[in-house]
C-alpha cells in the first residue's frame, strides 16, 4: 500500500459529495422532474429551453458583472493592504486586524450593516446628505452595491498576499534602494512580478468565492431586486429548483453554471497573468 492509500477518506468524500451529485445532475438535466413525482425523460428539451430563458440570461449577466467588479477590487485591495502593512510595528498590527475583521463578521451581519448604511431614508449616508437615494433601486447601482459588499471581505486574500510579500528577501530591496530605484519602479519591477503567482491563484479563488457570496449578499441587501437585477446564478438555481420545483430544468441550468464558473476563473487567471508586469527586459 502506497501513500495514496491515505487519500481514501478524501476520495470517498469527493465521490459521495461531488461526483455522485454531478452525475445525478447530468442525468436529471434530460428529464422533467418536480422532486415529487417520478422523473420523465425529455431528451434535450431542457437544454433548448435554457438557451431561450431570459431570466437565466439576466442571472448570468448579473453574476459576470459582480465577479468582474468584485474580483479585481478584492485582489487589488488585498495586495495594496499587504504592501502597506508588511513592515512590522505596533500600529501596523492593529491595522492588519482591521483589514481582516470584515472577514470574521458573519456574511448576514455584514449585509445587514450594509443595508442600514445604504438605506435611502434612515441610513447614515442619506442623513449625511449624500445622494444615495437611488443606489439600491437602480439595477446598475444595486449590482455595484452587491459587488462592493462582497469585495469588502478580503481578509483571507490579504493574509495570503501579506505572507507572500513578507517572504520576499530584504536585501534585494536594499540593493534597489542603493541603485536609487523609485517606489514605482520597485513596485513594477520587483514586487508585483514576484507576487504574480500568488495573485493569479488569489484571483481564481476569488472568482469562485464571489460567485457563491453573491447569494447571501443579494438576498439580504436587495432581495434580488430591483426587478430581479441582482439575482445571481446561485439564487436563480435555488429558486428554480426549490421554489418552483423545476428540478430537471434547474439541473440543466447547473451545467451552465459549471461552464460559467470555469470561464470566470480562467478569465481571472488570464487577466492577472496578462496585466501584471513579469519583470522581464521589456521597458
Amino acid at each position: 500500500m502506497g501513500p495514496a492509500f491515505l487519500a481514501v477518506p478524501y476520495m470517498f468524500g469527493l465521490v459521495a459529495l461531488v461526483g455522485v451529485p454531478l452525475v445525478g445532475t447530468a442525468v436529471l438535466a434530460f428529464t422533467d422532474y418536480s422532486g415529487i413525482s417520478a422523473p420523465q425523460w425529455v431528451g434535450a428539451a431542457n437544454l433548448r429551453a435554457i438557451s431561450n430563458d431570459d431570466s437565466l440570461g439576466r442571472a448570468v449577466l448579473t453574476t459576470v458583472v459582480v465577479v468582474a467588479v468584485a474580483v479585481p477590487l478584492r485582489v487589488a485591495g488585498a495586495t495594496a493592504l499587504a504592501l502597506l502593512l508588511h513592515r512590522p510595528g505596533r500600529s501596523v498590527t492593529a491595522a492588519r486586524a482591521a483589514a481582516f475583521l470584515p472577514t470574521v463578521v458573519p456574511d448576514v451581519a455584514l449585509a445587514l450593516v450594509w443595508a442600514w448604511l445604504l438605506n435611502p431614508l434612515s441610513g447614515p449616508l442619506a442623513l449625511a446628505g449624500l445622494p444615495i437615494g437611488g443606489v439600491l433601486t437602480d439595477p446598475v447601482g444595486a449590482r455595484l452595491a452587491v459587488a462592493v459588499l462582497v469585495a469588502f471581505q478580503l481578509g483571507e486574500g490579504f493574509v495570503i498576499a501579506l505572507a507572500w510579500r513578507t517572504s520576499l528577501g530584504r536585501t534585494p530591496y536594499e540593493a534597489a534602494t542603493l541603485a536609487g530605484a523609485s517606489p514605482g519602479f520597485v513596485l513594477r519591477r520587483l514586487t508585483l512580478p514576484q507576487m504574480r503567482p500568488a495573485l493569479a491563484a488569489l484571483a481564481v479563488r476569488d472568482a469562485v468565492v464571489v460567485l457563491h457570496a453573491t447569494f447571501v449578499a443579494a438576498l439580504l441587501l436587495t432581495r434580488g431586486g430591483p426587478s430581479r437585477a441582482t439575482v445571481g446564478l446561485p439564487q436563480w438555481l435555488y429558486e428554480t429548483e426549490f421554489a418552483y420545483l423545476r428540478v430537471g430544468y434547474a439541473s440543466a441550468a447547473s451545467l451552465t453554471v459549471l461552464v460559467v464558473t470555469g470561464a470566470l476563473t480562467a478569465a481571472a487567471w488570464w487577466s492577472v497573468r496578462r496585466n501584471l508586469p513579469g519583470g522581464a527586459a521589456s521597458s
Binding site: 528577501g169 534585494p172 540593493a175 534597489a176 542603493l178 541603485a179 536609487g180
Partner: protein
C-alpha cells in the same frame, strides 16, 4: 543600542580597505552607515569631500555587494545587471552595451539569460559583482562577498574582486572575517572592536606590529600566543607578551621540570606543537601554554610529556599593556 561609537576612519581614493573584526564588532553596521541604509544618530559620512550624511542612499554613488548577494530571483542575469542602470533611467542601448561589457569582463556572457537559481555559487557571485560595477559607482562596498562560497571557490572570487577593483580604480571597502582574507585582500586594514577602530594600517604593519594583543590574536592562523610579560626579560610596565607560533623555538632537552609537550598536530609541512608548564607565583601556581610552529616533520612523533626548552628571540616578542583581550 549603539553599534558604532567614537569612530573615525578615512578611506583613501582608489584603495581597497579591509574592515575586519569578529562577528558583532560593527563591521556591517559601518558599511551600512556608509551606504546610508542605516541612518546615523550622530556623526557624518563624507564621500569625495561631500557630506552625504543626509543624502539618500540612491544618490550617494555607492554600490554594494551583500553577503547574501541580494540578487533579484525572478530576473535573468542580464536583467539583474541592468536593473540598477534601468532604475537610474539610463537609455536602453547604453544599458545593453554596458551589460555586455561588464559581463564579458567577468566571464558571464554565456550565462546572461539564466536566472540566479540556474547559476552556480561562483557565477551568482560574479553577477552580483557585475551588477554593482555596471553603475560605475564612486564607492564600492562588499560585505563578506565570498562567505557563501566553497573554500575552493573563495580564492578565485577574491582574485576576481581584486582585479575588477584594479581595473576600475573604485575606492573599495571590503568587510572580511577570515584572517587570510583580511591580510590578502586590501591595501590597508582597519580592525574593529566593539564599534571602534582598534588599529588601521597596511596588512604588514598590523601583522608585524600589532597595536594590541587583540589585533595580534585576530590576525594570523594559528593565533598569536599571549603569555604573561614577566616570563620574558625586559618587560617592565607590560602586562602581556604576544609571540607568533612561527617565532617560538622548541628544543628537546633532558632536564625534568622543563615545559612538556601536550600535543603535536600536523599543519601542512609544519607541526603545531603545544607545550605546557607551571611556575610558582608566591602562594599560587600559574599554568602556562604556548604553541610553536615547528619546521621539522619529525616533531609529529614527539610524545606527550616530552621535556622541551622554549626560546623566543626578543625581536619577535610583542609587549602589550593591560587592555584586556
Amino acid at each position: 543600542m549603539r553599534a558604532l561609537a567614537g569612530l573615525s576612519l578615512e578611506v583613501r581614493a582608489g584603495e581597497i580597505l579591509v574592515l575586519a573584526g569578529p562577528s558583532g564588532c560593527g563591521k556591517t553596521s559601518l558599511l551600512r552607515a556608509i551606504a546610508g541604509l542605516t541612518p546615523l544618530d550622530t556623526g557624518t559620512v563624507t564621500i569625495d569631500g561631500r557630506d552625504v550624511t543626509r543624502i539618500r542612499p540612491g544618490d550617494r554613488g555607492v554600490a554594494m555587494v551583500f553577503q547574501d548577494l541580494a540578487l533579484y530571483p525572478h530576473l535573468s542575469a542580464a536583467d539583474n545587471i541592468a536593473f540598477d542602470l534601468r532604475a537610474g533611467g539610463a537609455p536602453g542601448h547604453a544599458i545593453e552595451r554596458r551589460v555586455a561589457e561588464v559581463a564579458s569582463d567577468l566571464r558571464l556572457s554565456a550565462f546572461l539569460h539564466r536566472r540566479p537559481e540556474q547559476l552556480s555559487g561562483g557565477e551568482r557571485q560574479r553577477v552580483a559583482l557585475a551588477r554593482a560595477l555596471a553603475r560605475q559607482p564612486r564607492v564600492f562596498l562588499l560585505d563578506e562577498p565570498a562567505a557563501a562560497l566553497d573554500v575552493t571557490l573563495r580564492a578565485a572570487a577574491r582574485e576576481e574582486i581584486r582585479s575588477a577593483q584594479a581595473r576600475t580604480g573604485v575606492t573599495t571597502v571590503y568587510v572580511a572575517h577570515d584572517p587570510v582574507e583580511v591580510l590578502s585582500m586590501g591595501h590597508r586594514v582597519a580592525l574593529m572592536r566593539e564599534g571602534r577602530i582598534e588599529q588601521v594600517g597596511t596588512p604588514d604593519e598590523l601583522y608585524d606590529a600589532p597595536a594590541s594583543a587583540y589585533v595580534g590574536r585576530l590576525l594570523g592562523d594559528p593565533p598569536m600566543n599571549i603569555i604573561p610579560a614577566r616570563l620574558l626579560p625586559n618587560s617592565a610596565g607590560l602586562a602581556v607578551t604576544g609571540v607568533r607560533p612561527e617565532h617560538v623555538c622548541l628544543d628537546r632537552v633532558a632536564e625534568s621540570g622543563s615545559p612538556q609537550v601536550s600535543s603535536a598536530e600536523r599543519r601542512g609541512r609544519d607541526v603545531l606543537v603545544t607545550a605546557v608548564w607551571a611556575d610558582d607565583v608566591g602562594a599560587a601556581v600559574a599554568s602556562h601554554r604556548i604553541t610553536a610552529l615547528v619546521r621539522d616533520a619529525r616533531a609529529r612523533d614527539w610524545p606527550p610529556g616530552l621535556p622541551v626548552a622554549v626560546r623566543v628571540a626578543p625581536a619577535h616578542a610583542h609587549g602589550f599593556g593591560d587592555e584586556g583581550l
